[in-house]
């Protein structure tokens, strides 16, 4: 068994081909622009209910996605739009689910928090905090049972890290040596409660220590660092050593959901992170400073992303409402 210890993986941008860096950039920007648009559409009343934006955390899912393959599984919480876009799910289907239309990934019946794709091995989209964590262990169990070399990325927030079932999952995953990468997205807040006010022992990467699960603390605002750490974590799982835990230090820029009085942190705090640690800006500056890409390349990516998002919006507005008869389908096996 690997000894639990803190491991920091230094980012080595020089090792990463420019092409890959540009892919990360493009994928992070897609999430950012998609989420900004979703926020606007919510404001216009085109999206209703709950809508948890991923803005600020883009480097986490993009970096991790590049560390896994299409046959690996991903499961997460309700803050799930970024995970789906990174997985390569169609922005049109995601946006149409937000607007509650039949073209959405759950035919409009799931909404922002409950979307799935069997094709992309994305297992949701789960509205109950912490509930997806044991499911992730079970997904990994099935891979191991069938002797497939795949892993399951199981994401949850730092707030969810206080749910009891998370530790039941750690024990089970370590005991049965399951190929699961537990990824804690520590964005410092659970709704209006900061990590310090709700969490005893804030070094979350060490929370697997007692179970013999090694932990990694990662700069979740640096996509290259995430990818490097992800490679290491996934290799650990694939080699049969059991689960591994990654704590991503990240930050959410927007409110928890769409109505958030934002009284629990200062505007300066948010501004400071945006100015110094923004994952997209950091990567762009790195590419420019190293003379790896010119302004025109970014302009072209901008244009491309804008078109994808516009197409998603158009689709989400024109896709018909689901037929009311759909209300009764998929409750049990349909006759």
């Amino acid at each position: 068994m690997a000894t639990p210890k803190r491991r920091r993986k230094a980012a080595k941008p020089a090792d990463t081909p420019v092409e890959d860096l540009l892919s990360y950039y493009r994928e992070m920007l897609l999430i950012r622009r998609f989420e900004e648009k979703a926020g606007q559409m919510y404001g216009m009343g085109l999206i209703g209910g709950f809508c948890h934006l991923y803005i600020g955390q883009e480097a986490v899912v993009v970096g991790m996605e590049h560390a896994i393959g299409p046959d690996d599984a991903v499961i997460t919480s309700y803050r799930d739009h970024g995970h789906m876009l990174a997985r390569g799910m169609d922005p049109k289907g995601v946006m149409a689910e937000l607007t509650g239309r039949s073209g959405g990934y759950s035919k409009g019946k799931g909404g922002s928090m409950h979307m799935f794709s069997i094709e992309k091995r994305f297992y949701g989209g789960n509205g109950i905090v912490g509930a997806q964590v044991p499911l992730g262990a079970g997904l990994a169990f099935a891979f191991k049972y069938r002797e497939e070399p795949h892993v399951c990325l199981t994401y949850f927030g730092e707030g969810a890290a206080n749910q009891g079932q998370v530790y039941e999952s750690f024990n089970i995953a370590s005991l049965w040596k399951l190929p699961v990468v537990f990824v804690i997205e520590n964005n410092r807040y659970a709704m209006g409660t900061s990590i310090e006010r709700a969490t005893a022992g804030t070094a979350l990467y060490r929370r697997g220590d007692a179970f013999g699960i090694p932990g990694m603390e990662v700069d979740g605002m640096d996509v290259v660092a995430v990818k490097a750490a992800g490679d290491e974590a996934v290799a650990h799982c694939r080699s049969g050593k059991g689960p591994i835990l990654m704590e991503m230090k990240t930050y959410r820029y927007r409110g928890h959901s769409m109505s958030d009085p934002a009284k629990y942190r200062t505007r300066d705090e948010v501004q400071d992170v945006r100015a110094r640690r923004d994952p997209i800006d950091q990567l762009r500056l790195r590419l420019i400073d190293n003379k790896d890409a010119e302004e025109s390349v970014f302009k072209e990516i901008d244009r491309e992303i804008k078109a994808i998002v516009a197409e998603a919006v158009e689709f989400a507005q024109n896709s018909p409402e689901p037929d009311p008869s759909e209300l009764y389908t998929d409750v049990l096996v349909d006759a």
Partner: protein
């Protein structure tokens, strides 16, 4: 008298009791510093301190279990579960510990915990933010299940619940927090200001547990309901123009059978309505009780309007919600019956 919406009335009940009894403590997610996602505890931590209004981690099992221990050891905890949909991680503690303590210790131990939790749909919350699970709790012997439909009752019932030595699961229909919703989402929202039940005394008073309330007397039909549908039923009866007697059950368990039975024996017709799913729903219990006691006065089979037997969908909120149209149809059908 003050004008209060349901949020303010609940906050006022908590304030009055925290002031009166130093053993009352509040715990839950975001209840302190943040003031609660629905603002029900806003300002209370500033007033009573962090040791009495306690921000809890996201650990429903821990919150409810710890509240039970606090209660057994002399405190009077009020636990907030942010949405009723999140109560299930703490369900084992409610069923196996909270509800059973008095019985298994022959009355020596008990835990006077009140669990407050917003329930119901109407805010496009989808399947994990809209449920009405009251029947599951009413089914458990050893706890009380309460659901107010207006600010006045919310405050009076909450005070009674906290002061009661019995454990109480206190459901707050979130669609009613800001105003009496009559089931029509397209009409502009109404506030509690002009509603008689929006008049709430500022100080201490109680509304007794175990009592149903006749909201409106009538002669032709009894509508037995609770929560959000109290207002929808009134609107539907008005629309049909039937002289309905409308009863708000409000204390689901134990149930005030007498008030229901007296009314149905008088009117000879009964419609039971709730937002929760129908199959195995609380309405089944109401129907059985009323049928047994009123069989010979009934002029028509007892009717039932409820949510469909499916998870709460994101896209079909107003088809799913048992709104005015479904109630109007049911009333018409009842009145046509011989």
């Amino acid at each position: 008298m003050a004008k209060m919406n349901m949020i303010e009335a609940i906050r006022s009940a908590l304030d009055v009791l925290m002031d009166k009894d130093p053993n009352v403590v509040i715990l839950g997610q975001d209840v302190g510093y943040f003031g609660g996602v629905f603002r029900c505890t806003d300002g209370l931590q500033r007033k009573y301190g962090e040791h009495r209004v306690i921000d809890a981690p996201i650990s429903e099992g821990g919150i409810i279990g710890a509240a039970i221990g606090m209660g057994v050891n002399g405190l009077r905890p009020v636990a907030e579960i942010q949405f009723a949909d999140y109560i299930y991680p703490g369900f084992d503690q409610i069923v196996s510990e909270l509800a059973r303590l008095r019985y298994r210790t022959c009355g020596e131990f008990f835990s006077p915990v009140t669990i407050r939790t917003p329930c119901g749909g109407g805010i496009r919350g989808g399947q994990t933010h809209s449920q009405s699970p009251e029947a599951i709790f009413a089914h458990i012997s050893g706890i009380r299940t309460v659901m107010p439909s207006n600010p006045y009752d919310a405050k009076g019932l909450l005070i009674s619940s906290i002061e009661s030595d019995d454990p109480v699961v206190f459901f707050e229909p979130k669609r009613l927090y800001n105003g009496p919703f009559d089931g029509d989402p397209d009409k502009p929202a109404i506030s509690w200001v002009s509603h008689p039940k929006g008049e709430v005394p500022e100080g201490y008073y109680t509304v007794p547990l175990d009592t149903a309330e006749i909201i409106k007397t009538g002669e032709e039909l009894t509508i037995v309901t609770y929560g959000t549908l109290v207002h929808v039923a009134q609107a539907a009866a008005d629309a049909v123009g039937v002289d309905a007697e409308i009863i708000d059950v409000r204390s689901l368990a134990p149930l005030d059978v007498k008030t229901l039975v007296d009314s149905v024996n008088k009117t000879g017709r009964c419609l039971v309505a709730h937002e929760a799913t129908r199959f195995g729903g609380y309405g089944g219990e109401l129907v059985a009780r009323i049928q047994k006691e009123c069989f010979y006065s009934l002029q028509a089979p007892i009717g039932r309007v409820a949510g469909w037997d499916t998870p709460y969908p994101h896209a079909f909120e107003w088809q799913y919600f048992p709104g005015k149209k479904r109630l109007i149809n049911a009333i018409n059908k009842m009145m046509e019956a011989a």
